[in-house]
Amino acid sequence: MSNLPFDPLLVSIAAPLALALLIALGLPKRWSVMLSYLAFAIPLLLGLHTWWHFSAVPQNQGYAFLTQYETGLGGLGIGLKLGLNGISMPLFAMAGIVGFAAGLYAIQSGAERLKIYLMLLLIMQGGLMGVFASVDVFFLYFFHELALIPTFIMVGVWGGRDRSYAAMKMTIYLTAGAMISLVGLIALYVQSGANSFDLIELKRHLAAQPLAVSVQQNIFGLLLLGFGVLVSLWPFHTWAPLGYGAAPSSNAMLHAGVLKKFGLYGLIQVALPLLPEGMGHWAHPLAWLAVVGNILVVGLITIAQRDLKQMIGYSSVMHMGYAFLGLAAASVLGIGGVVLMMVAHGLSVALMFLLATSVHHRTQTFAMDEMGGLAAKAPVLAAFFVAATFASIGLPGFANFWGELTIFVALWKFSPLITVLAIAGVIISAVYGLRAVASVFFGPASQRMNEVAQAHPPTDLRWAERVPALILLVALLFVGLWPKSLSDPINGALAPKTQTAAR
């Protein structure tokens, strides 16, 4: 076990939730803000701790830091079982990093009713840490829903344009996706006959008595559809750009960066190992949906966007297409690439949303036509934005590069045609990414930009904004330059026997 005197996973879930409870009970604002630093730092530090010690910690049934707590439903095989394997550890650490950045950004944002805003964000953070720390499928779902609720409220109350409509649309889409996946999980639970939601137990049981192929295919289809809606699989993606366009920045960072990965995570951690016959049946329809819908159609739509935040929202839908392609390839290489990409995309899209909001503070608009020439007034902001754009296009040196590269390599074996189409998508993302950089930061300032600049002369990125942005950027570069720190644990979890795979 780790050398900590407490269970790092439970504490990283409980610390934000405990502070949220204190705030709900009427903690004064000053204390709420002070303690929020601590409550966001604890998951970050524990996330980094588990990352650092992961290879050294002894593993129990494939999981490190394994512990179990009874919650009263032991008769149904439901218990709060926490642990990290090579797939969940990178995401757990990423959730800690993005959560800390989002928390810092929220504290400095000076949002109205900051206490309640922080409270909701803390509930979200607690839920997110729980999602990736749970070994019990029931709690995996439970924590996801716990993290989802604050999203609806935050979009509805603190959101921008169309917030009411966006909140309603998100709620209905995401509930639909969650209900479909719940039915799929219940089907898996009952059909397996293991009388347990515990992943380890389910795996052992299904390895001994696999389900019939047709049953596996049907349940996999349900899970794919349900989780797919949650990850904005085309054509169920329309909630995402709308919701992210309206969501307040910290919420968009946590939702687009971390929470949305739940669907992919569920497919990788639950559906693929437990229903091994399922993916083959659905791989081709899934790959075509992803490449034509998510990558090409949504990619072209992204190019047409004139609203910066909506554009980032669409681009995140597009990047999910690559993740689905990696899943469709269903090899150790492909899935390893997906996990790496999930981490990279979580960091980079959070950084993009953060910077977009900082741009908005200086231009008073998200419309890219009404900006221009910001680089001269805010060079640090411009530098961050360019770096984030390069990361999200997938240039070498950033984490995203390794994720996309491994996915393409894996995909070539699956279907060269789809691979070629997918690579064409990279060009699309370069087009919209660079166009955004050009129209926001370079070129002549627009008429309206000049008026805004006269009323409120734009300042460069303040330190309170720089620190969270820097944390995300450093993490992106760290993984980009040393991907082995994540790919080794991932490979260990995906192919425990073989030592050579994704690098």
Binding site: T71, G72, L73, G74, G75, L76, E112, R113, F138, Y141, F142, E145, L146, I149, F152, I153, G156, V157, R163, S164, A167, M168, T171, I172, T175, A176, M179, I180, L182, V183, I186, A187, Y189, V190
Partner: protein, 505 residues
């Protein structure tokens, strides 16, 4: 009937076993006496006496949890004592306690005699408690009529309000029809069970055990099938299931809000207690599962679809919660359909009922505080600004609605999950898919209500504040009760502990 028979019958009477019901009856009478003897200015204390009496009875039942009598029949087989009967006693007493508390708030706004309200609530509660333990169609019918007649009066209690009177009349007409159906079904079963030409015929064919034995010996008798379907129709009216749900929105809207809560929670649960006794595992109609399961499956599907779709367009919150209650009856029916096959189902139904009680009374508790003098006029718009003016009420409302919608981490989600697992185990997969779709649809109207209370508030239109009725400030006792309900909804969602272990044995 000679003296010897009467003596034999009396020997089987175990009055100590129904002390809680007797206590409620005595307190109800005491209230009437107090009304006569107390000077006028002290009569406000009557509500306190009623509330304290219900609370005392509840404590008594919980502290003297009587397991010794489980499985024993008393009163010559009229009553069967069981663990589920004890559980439902607690359920009805909790409901009555909340109805008394809500009644104090709602009645304070009306110029109206108050004592009869509490009197009838107590009598109806005692009837429900007996109904849940009945083991004989005679007992069932008498208890059911006692509670239904009490509810006719309660629904029309605001006698100066035309909406309340109209609701009462509608409830009376529909209730009389359903009682007729039920009685016709009972008579058919009684007649066919006593037919000496059939095997296992019995002289006592209204007794559950005897009738169940007879039905098991004649599993495809036409007259008995007709009786079974008619009895189910009568019960379907009680729980507001399709196609007997048509009275629900009007009656729920017109009835005083505490009575609406009573109808929505306790009366519905009483119907389910009866239904489990009839169609559950080892129930009277167990041999007719070939008939009851398809009938209930169709009813459940139609109830879920109707309740959710009809609730979508409502702007009056009382109608909305009534129709959402119809869909909850559908979810519970899903559990009843699964009950003969899936061992989890019974615990799931009881857990769902308790989660539903906690959530519903949270919502109704907020409703009585938001409502104005015209009790039937409770629009969504009246909730604008609630989060700003009264964060406590808004939080209780959000927890209650979230739990009704089945959002984790609230108790309502656990109830739905358990029911869904049981439904899948029983193989009712299409019904499960319909229920899952129903949950998604229900999000729209529950969310709309939360939206009305939260989202608009911080940009509240000042002109709207003038048109909505003045809100009642929250009293100390009611506040504690509502806080406890909301807290219980949250805690039961996170940590079920020994309660969860008990329900999922």
């Amino acid at each position: 009937m000679n003296l010897e028979t009467v003596k034999l019958a009396a020997e089987n009477n175990l009055w100590s076993a129904i002390v809680p019901e007797l206590m409620l009856g005595c307190i109800a009478l005491l209230l009437l006496v107090l009304e006569m003897v107390l000077p006028k200015k002290h009569r406000v204390a009557i509500a306190d006496v009623a509330t304290a009496g219900v609370f005392g009875t509840l404590l008594g039942v919980v502290l003297n949890w009587n397991v010794g009598l489980n499985g024993v029949e008393t009163f010559n087989g009229l009553i069967l004592h069981s663990e589920s009967g004890q559980l439902m006693r607690v359920f009805f007493l909790l409901s009555a306690l909340m109805v008394c508390l809500l009644g104090r708030v709602a009645l304070a706004r009306q110029a109206m005699p108050k004592v009869e309200f509490y009197h009838i609530v107590l009598v109806v509660t005692a009837a429900m408690m007996l109904l849940a333990q009945s083991n004989h169609f005679l007992m069932l019918f008498v208890a059911l009529e006692t509670l239904t007649i009490g509810l006719y009066i309660l629904v029309g209690y605001f006698r100066t309000s035309t909406a309340s009177l109209e609701a009462s009349l509608k409830y009376l007409v529909m209730g009389a029809l359903s009682s007729g159906l039920l009685l016709f079904g009972i008579v058919l079963l009684y007649g066919v069970g006593g037919n000496a030409a059939l095997s296992a015929h019995t002289a006592n064919s209204m007794h559950y055990g005897e009738l169940g034995h007879f039905l098991a010996a004649n599993p495809h008798n036409f007259l008995a099938s007709l009786g079974v379907v008619l009895v189910l129709s009568g019960v379907a009216f009680k729980i507001g299931a399709f196609p007997f749900q048509i009275w629900v929105p009007d009656v729920y809207q017109g009835a005083p809000t505490p009575v609406t809560a009573f109808l929505a929670v306790a009366s519905k649960a009483a119907g389910f207690a009866v239904l489990i006794g009839l169609c559950g595992p080892g129930g009277v109609f167990a041999a007719y599962n070939w008939l009851t399961t398809p009938v209930l499956t169709v009813i459940a599907a139609a109830t879920i679809i109707f309740g959710n779709i009809a609730a979508l367009t409502q702007h009056n919150v009382k109608r909305m919660i009534g129709l959402s209650g119809v869909s909850h009856a559908g979810f519970l029916l899903l559990g009843v359909v699964a009950a003969p096959v899936a061992p989890l189902a019974l615990g799931a139904i009881y857990f769902y009922l308790f989660a539903y009680l906690l959530a519903s009374f949270s919502v109704f508790g907020v409703m009585v505080h938001v409502a104005g003098p015209d009790d039937s006029d409770q629009e969504l718009d009246h909730y604008a600004g609630l989060a700003k003016d009264s964060p406590f009420l808004a939080t209780v409302l959000a927890v209650g609605l979230g739990s009704l919608a089945g959002i984790p981490p609230l108790a309502g989600f656990m109830g739905k999950l358990l029911i869904f697992i049981a439904a899948y185990q029983s193989g009712a997969r299409w019904l499960l898919l319909i229920a899952a779709a129903g949950v998604v649809v229900s999000i729209y109207y529950y969310f709309g209500w939360i939206k009305a209370a939260f989202f608009e508030s911080w940009a509240a239109r000042p002109e709207a504040a003038g048109t909505r009725p003045a809100r009642t400030p929250v009293g100390a006792v009611t506040g504690v009760a509502l806080g406890a309900l909301a807290l219980a909804s949250v805690v039961l969602g996170f940590y079920q502990g020994p309660i969860g272990a008990w329900f999922t044995r």
